[in-house]
C-alpha cells in the first residue's frame, strides 16, 4: 500500500513535469534558459512578499516573476548592456533580496532549503489543488497556443504576415513560464526549476523528428524523472529535488551518447 505522502508527491510532481516538458521545449528553442533562471531566482522574493502581506506565497511568486520578466524586457531595450548581463544582475539580486527578506521577517518560520531545492515529499492536498488548477490551465494554454507559439518561434515576421498575433503569443509564453515557476518551486525548488525546463527537452531533442514529438517525449521524460527520482530519494535517502534532476541528467547523457553513436555509425558529416 502506497503511503499517502508518496501518492501526493507523485501526483504533484508528475503534474508539474508533464507541463514543464512541452513548455521547456520553447525555452530550449527560443534560448530562454537564462530568462527562466532569472524568473525562478526571483521566486523566493515573491514568496517572501506574499507571506509578508499575508497572501499566499504562490500568488506572490507569480506576481514577482511577471514583474521581473517585464523588467528584463524593459532593460533589454536600453542596449547599453547585453541581455545576459541584465539577467545576471536581476537573477542574483532578486535571490539575495529574497533570502534577506525571509531572514528579516519577524516570527515567521520559513523552510529556506525547501524553497531552494524543493520538498516534494512534504506537499499537502492544498498544494495539490493549486498545482492541479494551474497545471490544467497551463495544459489548456499550451494546446491552444501551440500553433501560434511554434510559428512565432520559427520565424516571427513570417508568422505575422500569416496572421499570427506574435506579441500576444510571446506575452502568453512569459505568463505561462511565471505560472510554471510558481508550481515547480514546490517540486524541485527555485534553484532547480530550470533543469526541469531544459534537461528533458534537450534529451528529447536527441530522439525527435518534429516539434510535437519533442514536446511529447519531453513530457514523458520529465514525468519519468520525477517518478524515478522520488524512488531514488526514498531508497538512497537523497533529497527529492536533486534526485529528480540527477535522473533527468542521466536520461540526457544516455540519449546524447546514443545519438552520437547513431550519427557516428551512419557516418554523416556533422551538421
Amino acid at each position: 500500500m502506497m503511503e499517502d505522502f508518496i501518492l501526493r508527491a507523485l501526483i504533484g510532481g508528475t503534474s508539474v513535469a508533464v507541463i514543464a516538458g512541452p513548455l521547456g521545449c520553447f525555452v530550449v528553442w527560443r534560448r530562454m534558459a537564462y530568462f527562466g533562471a532569472t524568473m525562478s531566482h526571483s521566486a523566493l522574493l515573491g514568496a517572501a512578499l506574499g507571506i509578508a502581506v499575508g497572501a499566499d506565497p504562490t500568488a506572490g511568486t507569480i506576481a514577482v516573476c511577471i514583474a521581473i520578466a517585464l523588467v528584463v524586457v524593459f532593460m533589454e531595450s536600453g542596449r547599453l548592456l547585453a541581455s545576459d548581463t541584465v539577467m545576471g544582475i536581476l537573477a542574483h539580486s532578486a535571490l539575495a533580496y529574497g533570502v534577506a527578506a525571509i531572514a528579516l521577517m519577524p516570527g515567521v518560520r520559513v523552510d529556506l532549503m525547501g524553497y531552494l531545492f524543493g520538498d516534494v515529499l512534504a506537499i499537502g492536498w492544498g498544494d495539490i489543488r493549486v498545482i492541479a488548477a494551474i497545471g490544467f490551465a497551463l495544459g489548456v494554454g499550451i494546446v491552444t497556443l501551440w500553433r501560434p507559439l511554434l510559428s512565432v518561434t520559427v520565424d516571427e515576421e513570417l508568422a505575422r504576415v500569416e496572421g499570427v498575433r506574435a506579441a500576444a503569443a510571446r506575452v502568453a509564453l512569459m505568463l505561462m513560464l511565471a505560472l510554471l515557476v510558481a508550481v515547480g518551486m514546490k517540486v524541485v525548488g527555485i534553484l532547480l526549476i530550470v533543469s526541469l525546463l531544459v534537461i528533458p527537452p534537450a534529451a528529447a531533442r536527441m530522439i525527435s523528428a518534429t516539434p510535437e514529438g519533442m514536446a511529447l517525449k519531453s513530457a514523458l521524460l520529465a514525468a519519468a524523472s520525477v517518478a524515478l527520482g522520488m524512488s531514488l530519494s526514498l531508497t538512497a535517502d537523497v533529497p527529492a529535488g536533486p534526485a529528480i534532476v540527477i535522473v533527468a541528467s542521466l536520461f540526457f547523457a544516455l540519449l546524447f551518447l546514443l545519438r552520437r553513436g547513431f550519427d557516428g555509425l551512419s557516418a554523416r558529416p556533422p551538421t
Partner: protein, 263 residues
C-alpha cells in the same frame, strides 16, 4: 487606381534614430507583374518591404492592400535552427492545414519533390528557399513578396530559382514583389525595377532604368554599361531546346539605342 492593383505604398516616410530610412517612397504592384526593388546595402530595401507588409510602422504615407489580399511571403535569410526538429512537411503546415496531397503538389511546383520528410536543417540554401517558397504558394497568394530570395544560393541555383519564380508568375498570374541585389538577374526577369536609395531614384522598365543618370550615379558607369549590354543579349528567352521564344507583349525590352547605354 488600376483595377488589377494589388498593393500600393504612397509617400512612405520612416526615420529611425534620426536617420531617414524611407523618404517619400511610392511603389505599387499589379496582378501579373514582377516588381523588383534594387539598391545598395542599407538603402532601405528590406524596410520598404516590411512597411508594405505592415511589419513596421511608417511615420507618414499610406499602405494600401487590395481588400482580401492574400500574401505569400519569404523573409530574408530565414534559416532553421537545428535546435528545433522540423520536417519539411511540418514546416509547410505551420502556414495552414493542408493534406499530404497539397504539400506534395506544392513541393512539385518548386521542383523539390520527395523531400516531404527531410529535416529542414539538412537542406541546402537553395532547397531551403524553395521550401519557403512552397509555404508561400500554399496560401494561394495574390502576391508573392520575396525578400532576397537568392541569398545563400550559388549562381546556377539563382538562375534556376529566378526561372522558377517567373514560371510560377506566368502560371498563376499573381504579382511578385522582390528585393534583390543581383542586378543582372533582376534586369533580365523583371517588368518594373525600382531603384531605391532611401528615396526612389528611378523606376520603370529595366532598360529605362539602367539609362537613368541617377542609376548610373548610384551603381557606377561600368556596371550600368554592362547591364545595358546584358539587356541587349537577354531581350529574348530560350526554351529547353535552346530555341528563341518571344516574351509576352508587356515585356517591352529592346536593344538600347546607340550611345544610350551609359548616358
Amino acid at each position: 487606381m488600376r483595377n488589377d492593383a494589388l498593393l500600393r505604398g504612397t509617400g512612405l516616410c520612416l526615420a529611425y534614430n534620426g536617420r531617414q530610412i524611407l523618404d517619400h517612397v511610392d511603389i505599387g504592384v499589379d496582378r501579373g507583374e514582377v516588381v523588383t526593388v534594387v539598391g545598395l546595402n542599407g538603402c532601405g530595401k528590406s524596410t520598404l518591404v516590411r512597411a508594405l507588409l505592415g511589419l513596421t510602422r511608417v511615420d507618414s504615407g499610406a499602405v494600401w492592400h487590395r481588400p482580401g489580399l492574400r500574401i505569400g511571403y519569404t523573409p530574408q535569410r530565414m534559416k532553421m535552427d537545428p535546435v528545433m526538429p522540423m520536417t519539411v512537411a511540418r514546416f509547410l503546415r505551420l502556414g495552414g492545414r493542408y493534406d499530404d496531397g497539397r504539400l506534395a503538389a506544392a513541393l512539385d511546383e518548386v521542383e523539390l519533390n520527395g523531400t516531404l520528410h527531410a529535416q529542414m536543417s539538412k537542406l541546402s540554401g537553395g532547397e531551403f528557399n524553395r521550401v519557403a517558397l512552397a509555404r508561400a504558394l500554399l496560401r494561394d497568394p495574390d502576391i508573392l513578396v520575396l525578400d532576397e530570395p537568392l541569398s545563400s544560393v550559388d549562381y546556377v541555383g539563382q538562375v534556376r530559382l529566378y526561372e522558377l519564380i517567373e514560371s510560377i508568375r506566368r502560371r498563376r498570374g499573381c504579382g511578385v514583389l522582390m528585393v534583390s541585389h543581383d542586378l543582372h538577374l533582376v534586369i533580365s526577369a523583371t517588368n518594373t525595377v525600382v531603384c531605391l536609395n532611401h528615396h526612389v531614384c528611378c523606376s520603370g522598365r529595366p532598360r529605362e532604368v539602367i539609362g537613368n543618370p541617377e542609376f548610373v550615379a548610384l551603381f557606377g558607369r561600368r556596371l550600368a554599361e554592362s547591364l545595358a549590354l546584358y539587356v541587349h543579349q537577354h531581350d529574348h528567352s530560350h526554351d529547353a531546346s535552346g530555341r528563341v521564344v518571344s516574351e509576352p507583349g508587356d515585356r517591352d525590352v529592346r536593344p538600347p539605342a546607340p550611345g544610350n547605354g551609359g548616358a
